[in-house]
């Protein structure tokens, strides 16, 4: 069973502070993704990665950075957190498309509150 682990599960940050959300996958998947989920918007893609050393901008990258130091780890960094970044963040991993096994495996989510 594919496993994606996020930490922390809950985080309270102050406006202007730095926040790092971590994600680890043991599936040996090439692709990893960071989404945020807000009421009325579904999941929106922030950053993604094709493999170690690569990061790509998603649909809403402003205010976020990403880092993929290894195949297993993918971090989301908020250098200067703002209240508008209060949300639930999900990490996911997956492989290149093709076949019935094509899907994303999600972590449990991180609930971030920026005060």
């Amino acid at each position: 069973e594919a496993a994606v682990t996020q930490s922390p599960r809950n985080k309270v940050a102050v406006t202007g502070g730095k926040v790092t959300l971590s994600c680890n996958q043991t599936n040996n998947h090439n692709n990893m993704y960071w989404y945020r989920q807000d009421t009325g918007h579904g999941l929106r893609l922030i950053h993604y990665s094709y493999g170690a050393g690569s990061t790509e901008k998603g649909d809403i990258p402003d205010g976020y950075k990403a880092s993929r130091p290894s195949q297993e780890n993918f971090s989301l960094i908020l250098e200067l957190a703002t209240p508008s970044q209060t949300s639930v963040y999900f990490c996911a991993s997956g492989d290149a498309p093709g076949g019935d096994q094509n899907t994303l495996y999600f972590g449990a989510g991180t609930r971030l509150s920026v005060l």
Partner: protein, 111 residues
């Protein structure tokens, strides 16, 4: 505008009733998937269904590419079916493997 629209936004059923959830999309796609999200929880894949009909227990997914729609049918609903159901598509124009999610249908099944 939104490429993926789901309806209804919320649905309340009595246990045993059937549910029909809809997903309409405005772009050509490579694949369509359905996910289930337990309240406050992670997402799990229900169906990878780029076209046609697939069955899994009490769940049936049907994707009709020409009509740009996909549906999820839940028969004989149970209280444990409560949660949020999201459809997601992989656009044909995507240079990488990305999924665009709908806003979800929040299902509540009452005992």
């Amino acid at each position: 505008g939104q490429q993926v629209q789901q309806s209804p936004a919320s649905l309340v059923l009595q246990e045993g009733e059937n549910a029909e959830l809809q997903c309409n999309f405005s772009t050509s796609l490579n694949s369509m998937q359905w996910f289930y999200q337990r309240p406050g929880g992670s997402l799990v894949s229900l169906f990878y269904n780029p076209s046609g009909t697939k069955h899994s227990g009490r769940l049936t997914s049907t994707t009709v590419i020409k009509e740009r729609r996909s549906s999820l049918h839940i028969s004989s609903s149970q209280t444990t079916d409560s949660g949020t159901y999201l459809c997601a598509l992989e656009p044909a124009s995507s240079g990488s493997w990305q999924l665009i999610f709908g806003s979800g249908t929040q299902l509540t099944v009452m005992p």
